[in-house]
């Protein structure tokens, strides 16, 4: 079936919507990576079996014939509340079941699908309050889901559902009702800024690509989400692939490109599968290919799987990697807009940026600017992790304060501990502390305090986190992922890591701190690419806000959080020790000696700090400090 013109598409849209309307209930089983890992696909199969056994018609992906009163069973995208997975949502009741197991399916079908009842033990409750509806749960209530709106509320594998719910209308509008310049003007007016890290204005980039005279141009989507713990782009690609494809097509139309590439990590097999499926579906019905909907616009999209190098998220490294070369950034100018993929003008944005495009075209620049601050509008998806009550994928308006994110959505610090810092922007970002809790999260405000949104990782840390160790952790990542091209990043990150390792091992000297700062300054000022220039951020910000902890490690050889194994000492409280000798018998290195019925002693030179004695002691006489 090929859709050949606009009228035809509209006709189909109505048809699909009418089909969906015949579904009495819709069940969305989360098909995001987290829930799939938790067994959600088995739940899906079980539900399908049970629904059919109950004599109901099970309607999948709108591929069977419409049948009044059927149950629509769908694999949705990620709902974001991954730690509560596998999750499923039932419409129209908006029921949201958490931590569902295969054994629960029978009851779910009986009570909530055949009947209109609730399985109480599967709904979210907190502080004694139960929240049967998804939208009422505090984790969701304080979010503004724009890009992720359909993620979890639409069948991620069905182009028909996407079209039925208004998908590809923005492409239609662009191609038929707007000139290329008008499209670019809307994007420019909306002040949409690239979600990949630096926040470059998307409209400016688009118009620069359009201005290039080359007959061949490319649109490239950066899906190389490499920050540890970040999965925003992954969720969009897996959960709502067509939204991103539509954004790329609009970008192609506006800039004059006829080919698009998606660079996605091979470690995201589900994203690759869903994208491949989505592209094939769009090709099959003629939304990709030649003369799309009879508009005269040709566009096709290819997927390139990255081999998993963090540096390939950098524009020039990414394009050279697509070309089959070693992923190394090159010097600029020329910039990617002039000389990108295969040496041609290239419009390169990331997944989340493209996913914003259809929304802006649909609702207009003025509407978009009502969300968040004027210079940095829209929403931002964050991957919220760390020592926080609710972890997962969230989306909030730009300008939302850190406090709102951590306390309202995140539910505060886990175990009632004290908030210490949050690492924002992944390994290239910096840490923010209590004094920044009221800081609005947007490109400009963060830049002012020396941090960056980056791709959107938010790692929350409590009082038990050692900041020197945090810096060491991120530096270890950056140094492993440095491409090795320029001297400051290749050698500088390695030397910073050496020094940090020395400090956490208790061998640091005060001069090391000075060298560390010099290295951080040199790397920041002189590295070749953006990743190198930001590589020292975790070191710089932890030294800035937690210098006393560094000094403590170096001078007092002490880690106040007890994170640094080498700085721990284990000792026996002589007042409490009964001399039972249990500890000395369990010690694997014979570091404990003494006479029975007299206080024992640990030889610190021999002790390997394994803690076996602490666990064994019945009198709590062995302590760490």
């Amino acid at each position: 079936m090929k859709i050949t013109d606009r009228k035809h598409l509209d006709q189909y849209r109505k048809e699909f919507l009418a089909h969906i309307d015949t579904q009495k209930k819709k069940v969305y089983v989360c098909g995001g990576t987290g829930c799939v890992a938790g067994g959600s696909m088995e739940i899906y199969d079980e539900l399908k079996k049970l629904i059919e056994e109950n004599g109901l018609n099970c309607d999948i992906s709108l591929d069977s014939d419409a049948c009044e009163g059927s149950i629509g069973l769908k694999k949705s995208g990620c709902h974001g509340f991954c730690e509560m997975g596998p999750v499923l949502r039932i419409e129209p009741s908006k029921l949201f079941y958490l931590k569902v197991k295969k054994e629960d399916c029978q009851e779910i079908v009986e009570k909530s699908i055949v009947d209109d009842d609730i399985v109480e033990r599967l709904i979210y409750s907190r502080d004694g309050i139960q929240y049967p509806e998804q939208e009422e749960i505090p984790f969701y209530k304080h979010q503004t889901r724009l890009v992720l709106e359909d993620c979890g509320q639409i069948d991620a594998q069905s182009i028909k559902e996407y079209i039925a719910y208004g998908g590809y209308t923005s492409l239609e509008k662009s191609m038929f009702d707007m000139t290329k310049d008008e499209v670019i003007n809307v994007i420019t007016d909306s002040n949409l800024r690239g979600r990949g890290g630096a926040g470059f204005p998307a409209g400016r980039k688009w118009s620069q690509v359009k201005a290039q005279k080359s007959p061949v141009k490319y649109v490239v989507c950066n899906g190389d989400e490499g920050d540890p713990g970040a999965f925003m782009d992954r969720s969009i690609m897996e959960g709502d692939p067509h939204k991103m494809l539509e954004g790329m097509m609009i970008a192609g139309y506006a800039s004059g490109a006829t080919e698009g590439y998606i660079y996605v990590r091979a470690e995201y097999p589900l994203a690759v599968e869903r994208l491949t499926n989505a592209i094939n579906q769009a090709r099959d019905i003629g939304l990709l290919g030649e003369n799309i909907l009879g508009s005269g616009f040709d566009f096709d999209i290819h997927i390139v799987k990255g081999a998993g190098a963090f540096v390939c998220g950098e524009g020039s490294a990414l394009t050279t990697s697509i070309e089959g070369n070693r992923g190394m950034p090159r010097v600029k100018p020329p910039r990617t807009v002039e000389h990108g993929l295969y040496g041609k003008p290239t419009l390169l944005n990331n997944v989340e940026t493209f996913a914003n495009v259809p929304i802006i075209i649909d609702k207009g620049a003025d509407w978009y600017k009502t969300i968040g601050p004027e210079r940095s509008p829209g929403t931002k998806a964050f991957a919220l992790t760390g020592n926080i009550v609710n972890t997962g994928l969230i989306e909030v308006p730009m300008g939302t304060t850190l406090r709102q994110v951590i306390y309202d959505i995140g539910g505060g610090i886990r175990g009632g501990k004290k908030f210490k810092a949050v690492q924002i922007g992944g390994p290239s970002g910096g840490c923010l502390t209590e004094e920044h809790l009221e800081l609005p999260l947007d490109f400009d405000s963060l830049k002012k305090v020396g941090a960056m949104i980056g791709s959107g990782g938010l790692v929350v840390m409590d009082e038990d986190t050692c900041m020197v160790e945090v810096a060491r952790f991120f530096m270890n990542f950056t140094q492993n992922e440095s491409c090795g091209k320029c001297v400051p990043c290749r050698e500088g990150t390695r030397r910073m890591l050496d020094i940090l390792e020395k400090i956490v091992a208790g061998n640091g000297e005060l001069s090391d701190l000075e060298t560390l700062e010099q290295l951080a300054d040199t790397v920041t000022a002189t590295a070749l690419c953006g990743l190198g220039k930001t590589a020292a951020n975790p070191v710089k910000s932890t030294i800035k806000y937690f210098r006393d902890e560094y000094i403590e490690h170096i001078v007092e050889k002490k880690c106040r959080t007890g994170n640094c194994q080498a700085l721990k000492t284990i000792y026996i409280d002589k007042g409490l020790c009964k001399g039972c000798s249990l500890c000395s018998r369990v010690c694997p290195v014979n570091a404990i000696s003494g006479k029975v019925k007299e206080p024992f002693e640990i030889d610190p030179a021999t002790c390997i700090k394994c803690g076996a004695c602490i666990e064994k002691c019945k009198f709590n006489a062995i302590k760490e400090g």
């Binding site: 190394m328 091209k485 320029c486 001297v487 290749r490 050698e491 390695r494 030397r495 040199t522």
Partner: protein
């Protein structure tokens, strides 16, 4: 309205400097008289931007790499601010930390760019521990030695090998601080498609890639009374050796070289330009024969061993088109060995004859070992040393080179034509062959050939030349193997037609061979001029007019001997 006429200037260290088409800040700053340190920048290669030594500071305190930033009118930069100095020092310290610092015993101690810069910026301490030194060297190649412990990962070798030579024998592997430069699968370099051109060592700022030295063997020979040591000196050596003794670029020091060699104990000293005359005669005859038969055209030259190896690796289909002539060095070696054999016939207790070639080239070290150039299973040239090695030999011997009185080479091979001498520069072989084919009768006819377009250092030149009554010969001259590759593609696709193609692997020809002192980007025009001046000063301008060649064809090379001694098997 006056914007067009207004001079575009920018400010460098507080003083205005006009922008006159410079592509980068680096060029502009150097024009302004400040040397910007670089460790990964060569004007012939693509901009890499990895060493970050060329950084400068702008008005707002921004740090920019001058190698990759175009100048802009009104821009203000400073090149020696305290920050810049501190960063450069730190970068050098970082490089030195992961570098084998046995500088005193290092083969590159006289011209190491890293050492120079460390001294210039006063890096007096390295605070970081040195690791990843495992002492391994790749000694597999007869031409070059790889010593990864000394590599600073500037990538110059990779780019010259790929961009200029289209060989790509090495690349980066691993990432971050584990990055290394190596051939695919860490194979020994001799087992790759390396053509031994040595340009990697010429661009290497440190001793990570050096040229294999054969001086120890040579010293042995020179001190052995039972050996007759013969030298043959390639054309390009005479205009380059002077660099190592502070002569102006391009000075022809041939007479001094001959004098030096005699003093060092060489028994016989010859000029490879003499055997180049034989090459011209043989190759011209081959060319005319092919023109007449119309077969195996274009004729490709064969005197550059790196090119021959490249063709064997990548274009076996062209082997019939490549001239069957040996290179001048090999022809001389064959003739000298044949003569020695003849002289020795019937005599007892003959001394052993060893032929030493002094070459601008590293690939010659490989060429002398080729099986298909051996006679009776033995090499005809026993050692090939580079110009730079000759300089080292002279320095080690304690000879005062500068004050030597020039001497002439030995008879009976004491005459070389100007045509044989210009072999050392790109286009020279072609011009020499044309002189032979056209047979000019006077100076103005010679000049006409010189101005057909054969001269000049461009990478690709085309020459049209009338031949006989109605024919026009189409000739191409290329240097750099990537240029050769592009030309071959054009020929094979039918886009271009040539009768004769001269290929030299090194940019500019042998004058810029990797065995020459300080090759890259220096002294090419001066050396080229030195070659053509030597030709002009020569009283024999064409190979066929050289009485030595005539004598040889009547004696040693009579009958089948010419083919047996002067051509590949």
């Amino acid at each position: 309205m006056s914007a067009i006429n207004k001079p575009r200037t920018m400010i460098v260290n507080g003083r205005p400097v006009p922008i006159e088409g410079e592509k980068t800040l680096l060029d502009l700053i150097r024009k302004a008289g400040f040397d910007v340190p670089t460790l990964c920048h060569h004007s012939q290669l693509s901009t890499f931007g990895a060493c970050r030594m060329c950084i400068v500071e702008d008005k707002k305190g921004g740090i920019i790499a001058s190698c990759s930033t175009p100048p802009k009118a009104g821009m203000e930069i400073k090149t020696n601010t305290p920050r810049i100095r501190e960063y450069r020092k730190m970068i050098l310290e970082l490089m030195l930390a992961d570098h084998n610092r046995d500088c005193i015993t290092c083969e590159k101690r006289r011209d190491c760019e890293l050492l120079n810069q460390a001294q210039r910026f006063g890096v007096d301490t390295v605070r970081f521990e040195t690791y990843s030194m495992d002492g391994t060297k790749d000694m597999s190649s007869p031409a070059i030695i790889r010593h990864p412990d000394k590599c600073i990962l500037c990538g110059d070798c990779i780019r010259v090998c790929d961009e200029i030579q289209n060989v790509g024998a090495m690349d980066f592997v691993n990432r971050g601080s584990n990055m290394e430069v190596m051939p695919a699968f860490d194979m020994p370099i001799a087992e790759t498609n390396c053509v031994n051109c040595g340009q990697c060592s010429a661009v290497c700022p440190t001793a990570a890639i050096t040229i294999r030295s054969n001086l120890p063997e040579l010293w042995e020979m020179l001190n052995d009374d039972n050996i007759i040591v013969q030298a043959q000196i390639a054309p390009a050596v005479r205009v380059a050796l002077g660099d190592d003794f502070n002569f102006p670029y391009g000075t022809n020091v041939m007479g001094k070289i001959v004098a030096a060699l005699r003093k060092l104990g060489f028994d016989e000293v010859y000029d490879t330009a003499t055997s180049a005359d034989l090459t011209v005669i043989e190759e011209a005859a081959e060319f005319v024969e092919r023109l007449n038969s119309g077969e195996k055209l274009p004729l490709f030259t064969s005197c550059c061993p790196a090119w021959v190896k490249y063709a064997e690796n990548k274009h076996p289909e062209l082997m019939d088109n490549i001239s069957s002539c040996k290179s001048p060095m090999e022809m001389f070696g064959s003739v000298l060995k044949e003569k020695a054999k003849k002289d020795a016939a019937g005599k007892k207790n003959n001394k052993i004859v060893k032929n030493i070639a002094i070459m601008p080239c590293t690939a010659k070290k490989y060429e002398i070992q080729r099986e298909d150039l051996k006679m009776n299973g033995e090499q005809v040239v026993d050692l090939s040393i580079t110009t730079h090695e000759l300089a080292t030999l002279i320095i080690e011997s304690g000879l005062n080179f500068k004050d030597l009185q020039p001497e002439a080479v030995d008879m009976p091979f004491g005459i070389a034509s100007g045509a044989g001498v210009i072999f050392g520069v790109t286009g020279g072989v072609t011009e020499a062959v044309i002189r032979n084919v056209v047979n000019p009768e006077n100076r103005s006819e010679l000049d006409e050939i010189a101005f057909t377009g054969v001269r000049g250092l461009e990478g690709v030149k085309e020459v049209k030349l009338p031949f006989g009554e109605e024919r026009v010969l189409s000739i191409a001259i290329v240097n750099g193997l990537r240029n050769a590759e592009n030309l071959i593609k054009a020929i094979q696709s039918g886009e271009a037609y040539y009768d004769f193609v001269e290929v030299m692997a090194c940019q500019g020809g042998c004058i810029a061979g990797a065995g020459q002192p300080f090759v890259i980007g220096r002294a090419r025009p001066e050396r080229s001029e030195g070659m053509y001046n030597a030709d002009k000063m020569s009283n024999v301008r064409t190979s066929q007019a050289n009485p030595v060649t005539e004598a040889l064809y009547n004696d040693l090379l009579s009958g089948d001997n010419a083919h047996r001694l002067l051509h590949y098997k």
